[in-house]
């Protein structure tokens, strides 16, 4: 036990002596969350709208005004012919266009329905559906404001949805992405930390000394992890404070539980880093492989940007093994939904078992090196 304490003390001295690295380790997540928190959003609140109105009349003007006053649309161009839209869409200057045909006001009064074409840049399908429904809502509102006539019977039945957005009523992007970002940033920082601590021993040749010391493999692992767990915990707290104060993400559930889960998640990430560094023979290949293997999957499969439920089932299965996925669910659950362990125990169990497996495996890989 004293030898274990000695190892922890040694690691701690390393951290204290190299204050710059320690500062970077704590500051980096804070800076990244700040940057990405403002960058990673999916709100659509500024639509670049082009209007094709070959023969303006009171009705087209009225509908155009409705678009202008809807709040989301910004009129970027009014043109005469549909062909003129092409460069606007091609360069991305316009995202949506409403096309009127001559005689709009006349047709509106007659039995013939007036024609209206709504063109949407659908390169990004999700934004496109939102834009379409925004435009549709404006047009619907306009139709309802028209005087009742034989063309528009008053008594047409309507089913009016009363929509309640649970857990995130304003659908604020930062509420959604910041808890996910915390998971993402912590993964990066943890892998960095363990890599520093283990490869340093290897580079300076002191790893051999550790291996021939009376320390057991698990003691080496624990000794290596504990000080960095402490630093990781400090960055969890820092990032959480930032989320609450800067991004005003609600924290509806228990702080204690969230911190506990954060600690558990850091442990998983550290263990993963240790396992990789312990098994590395050629640094170049291992690091290249790890970086390639973790950079995109971490962004894509953790559900932090793209919902896991939307993925094909094969990928959903793979996502089970991605610890970030569980922590994202837990963080959102505690912060946005205010639920506790009664709902989150499966995710917690998954995280805990991944931690157990990784730690056991890294202890095992130290054994192999001894032979």
């Amino acid at each position: 036990m004293t030898s274990l304490r000695g190892l922890i003390h040694k690691e701690w001295l390393h951290i204290r002596r190299d204050r710059r690295t320690a500062a970077v380790l704590v500051a980096l997540p804070v800076v990244q969350v700040l940057l990405f928190g403002y960058a990673i959003r999916t709100d659509v609140d500024d639509v670049r709208l082009a209007v094709v109105d070959p023969a303006p009349d009171p009705a087209t003007i009225a509908l155009r005004n409705r678009f202008a006053s809807a709040g989301v649309f910004r009129n970027v161009a009014v043109v005469q012919r549909t062909e003129e839209l092409e460069p606007l869409f091609g360069s991305g200057a316009a995202q949506q266009a409403i096309v009127f045909y001559p005689g709009f006001a006349q047709d509106l009064g007659q039995c013939v329905p007036a024609k209206l074409l709504i063109i949407t840049d659908a390169t990004e399908p999700n934004t496109a559906s939102l834009l379409q429904s925004y435009a549709q809502a404006v047009v619907d509102g306009y139709v309802r404001s028209l005087p009742t006539s034989h063309a528009r019977p008053a008594a047409a039945p309507r089913i009016v949805p009363q929509v309640r957005m649970r857990f995130n009523p304003t659908r604020e992007s930062s509420n959604l992405f910041v808890p996910g970002l915390i998971a993402f940033v912590l993964t990066i920082i943890s892998s960095l930390m363990t890599a520093i601590s283990l490869t340093r021993e290897k580079e300076t040749g002191t790893m051999e000394a550790l291996l021939v010391s009376p320390l057991r493999p698990w003691e080496i692992i624990v000794g290596k992890v504990t000080p960095y767990l402490a630093i990781g915990f400090v960055s969890v707290v820092a990032v959480l404070i930032e989320a609450l104060l800067v991004f005003h993400v609600p924290l509806r559930g228990s702080v204690v539980l969230l911190l506990f889960e954060g600690g558990l998640y850091i442990l998983v990430s550290l263990a993963f880093g240790i396992l990789i560094s312990a098994r590395t023979s050629s640094q170049r290949l291992a690091m290249m492989g790890t970086l390639l293997a973790t950079m995109l999957p971490n962004v894509l499969l953790s559900g932090f940007i793209f919902p896991v439920e939307s993925m094909p089932w094969a990928l959903q299965v793979i996502a089970y093994a991605i610890p970030g996925r569980w922590f994202v669910t837990i963080a959102r659950g505690i912060m946005l939904k205010g639920v506790g362990l009664e709902y989150l125990w499966p995710q917690t169990l998954f995280l805990a078992s991944i931690a157990a497996v990784l730690l056991t495996a890294s202890v095992g890989s130290f054994n192999e090196r001894l032979e």
Binding site: L35, F36, Y38, A39, I40, R41, T42, D43, V44, D46, F89, G90, L108, P113, A114, L116, L117, I118, I119, T120, D121, A122, P125, A128, L130, A135, V139, Y142, V143, R152, A156, P157, I159, P161, Q162, R164, M165, R166, N168, R171, L192, T199, R284, L285, M287, M288, G289, L292, L296, L300, L301, I305, F306, P307, E309, S310, M311, P312, L315, G333
Partner: protein, 383 residues
Amino acid sequence: MRRILYLTQAEVLHIVRDRILLAQVLIVPVVQLLILSNAATFEIHNTPIHIVDLDRTIVSRGLVSHLAANGHFRIVEATPSADRGDQGMSRGNVSMVVVIPRHFEASLVRTGVGQVQLSVNAEKGSAAGIVQSYAAQVLNQYANELASGRRPLYRQFSGDSTRWGPPQAGPLEVRVRPRYNETQNYKHYMVPGILVGLMTIIGTLLSAQNIAREKELGTLEQLNVTPITRGQFIIAKLLPFWVLGLVELSLGLVVGVLVFGIPVRGSVPLLYGVAAIYLTVALGIGLWISSLVETQQQAMFVTFFIVIIYLLMSGLFTPIDSMAPWVRNVTQGNPVRHFVTISRAILMKGAGPAEIAQPFLILAVSSLVILAVAVRQYRKSAS
């Protein structure tokens, strides 16, 4: 010129000899493209919903069957009380609770307006908006069907089929046309972007790590005492990776077209032309990193951080338009952003030189700047 060729030859030999590295560089990106393009989707189908039908009339049941038949929704449970729906939502296995209140049908018949409560799990922001708009579509469609009397059951029940008049169109006929991605296929949108992402990761990482390795091994000093100039050295170092990057692009394009059926509407030579310029930027950044660091490990980590920031702020995953205004301005300096824009514009929109002129110009300028900085930073003398 001969010197450049010799050094290039040495580099090529290094790459070809290291089979595992070559495999990593060529195969891993293709595998990632194949797998990850499936992951990057906001597409919403089979949304699990919970139905609370308090009305239990023919009209309310008709609404439920419309929701079930629509294809976007999957009814996981139907109970007469809302509590279980709320629980399901907290647990996360229900995304929307639909409550049809008592007297729904009566109110629809009497006043022409029926109300339905939709509680959407907005934990996943934009997905919630889409789910809501799908639901609204179903409700509208059902209301229109009721109006046009195409539901005999209802006519029979209300007893008065002419009440809402004969089937007819409204005063306005709205047609909606989604441009460029008519099938709303998310992969068509993601593949051109992920391609750029992979080229960036590989290019920057390889060039950053390459020179750092020579530093570690001490072979950089040997090169420094040869008569080769700084410019020649950098050209010779970057040329093989530049070619590798273009090979990467070709592989990715082939996979994209054959496997994912992405459209190629614009000119492929134009895409390659831009890629050629873009790669000099990506490689230049790697080179610049390698001149700042001492070891391969440092090179890896610095590259990792820079590339992550570049990728997440490039509009590859989330739209640039949604970013906070100041972030949007910051991303103007991000070369990845411009190449993602160009790649999507050429492949999906069929954009020509005129439409991509502005981002291309920014890329060209960044290329000059970054190469100039990298050449300046690289000192032939050992410090």
